[in-house]
């Protein structure tokens, strides 16, 4: 047997800390497949009762926006102040 592959792929871990809250990215780990990644996520990231639900996803399957795109992606939203409630002048004593 020649030099075989011993490199376990990388997985990203998301934990929901309480019912009603969102899953939040907490870190990553290495595992050969989803079942083991799930177990190691449980063993590593919920040792102190930090979670009630776990998502794992292969890091290779995540597509991230690129830093060089950020001007064209995000700046155009900045001048749309009318999307925010504070943009509108309504008498304070009214409940709207």
């Amino acid at each position: 047997m020649g030099k075989t592959n011993q490199h376990l792929p990388l997985w990203e871990v998301f934990i929901r800390s309480k019912r009603g809250l969102d899953h939040k990215h907490v870190g990553s780990l290495h595992a050969a497949d989803a079942e083991q990644a799930m177990q190691y996520a449980r063993d590593t990231y919920t040792r102190r009762s930090e979670g009630c639900s776990i998502w794992i996803v292969r890091s290779a399957d995540i597509h991230a926006s690129q830093a060089e795109d950020s001007a064209s992606f995000f700046d155009p939203a900045d001048d749309k102040v009318y999307r925010h409630p504070t943009f509108y002048d309504i008498p304070e004593d009214l409940k709207i």
Partner: protein, 250 residues
């Protein structure tokens, strides 16, 4: 006190402690970092379980011995763990297959012990069954990967299974203590336990392309304090500080 209940609780406690002791030897030496964390979780559960059981054994005995008196001052012949727990950790296949066989046993045993007429044991079992269910998931998945992974991993796992299988008979042994506990509704019947255990271990072993060895003889003696030569060294290591400085608080 009930001599049989003391003896029975001691058996459960010693099984958990010696298994946990062996497993803790892997801490920092596992095949990759994630597994280091995983194996330590199982060892922690087992040591926690042993503490509850030995403390209760001390209470049942009524001579003022606590968990540490029982763990640190008994000599080899007074230990009641099954032999399979004390065997040296071996390679990862040996540890994993042993743990798989024990997890499957504990999963069945503690599920039944939840119904024990002894309320304390039933309480401990309620927690233990959840732990063992997870341990079994972890080792069960590993058995599949080792058995059905590479030729080398299959060879190692098969060798481990061949070595370990004769020791499993002891888990289902009956003797007057066991019979008395069964008669009092404190312990589950060993015969039904064995059937359930076989039912748990056979399918994953088969899927993993591992063969249960036929024609073996039972290796037993632990329940009577007749241990392997490994036990003395395990105790020498575990009890060293308390033996060197007797009677101190730590």
């Amino acid at each position: 006190m009930s001599a049989a209940l003391f003896e029975y609780t001691l058996r459960l406690g010693d099984d958990a402690l010696i298994d946990g002791q062996r497993l803790s030897e892997w801490c920092g030496h596992g095949p990759f970092l994630e597994e280091d964390v995983g194996v330590a979780n199982t060892a922690l559960d087992l040591i926690g379980r042993a503490r509850l059981l030995l403390a209760y054994a001390g209470t049942v005995e009524g001579k003022g011995r606590g968990e540490d008196d029982l763990a640190y001052t008994r000599d080899e012949r007074e230990w009641r763990n099954v032999l399979i727990t004390e065997l040296p950790r071996g390679d990862f296949a040996f540890t994993t297959v042993r743990q798989f066989l024990l997890d499957a046993f504990n999963r069945q045993l503690y599920e039944r012990l939840c119904l024990s007429l002894d309320a304390t044991l039933a309480g401990i079992a309620g927690r233990a069954v959840k732990e063992s269910e997870y341990h079994l998931r972890h080792t069960g998945e590993w058995v599949l990967r080792l058995g059905d992974g590479t030729r080398e991993s299959n060879r190692r796992a098969q060798r481990a299974l061949d070595d370990l299988w004769p020791y499993t008979a002891e888990l289902f042994e009956s003797d007057p203590v066991q019979e008395q506990m069964e008669a009092q509704g404190i312990a589950p019947a060993t015969a039904s336990l064995r059937a359930a255990w076989l039912h748990t271990v056979e399918p994953p072993l088969r899927s993993a392309q591992l063969m249960i060895p036929g024609n073996t003889w039972p290796q037993t003696g632990g329940r009577q304090g007749m241990h392997s030569e490994h036990m003395g060294f395990l105790l020498a290591e575990m009890q060293f500080v308390q033996r060197a400085y007797p009677g101190q608080a730590w």
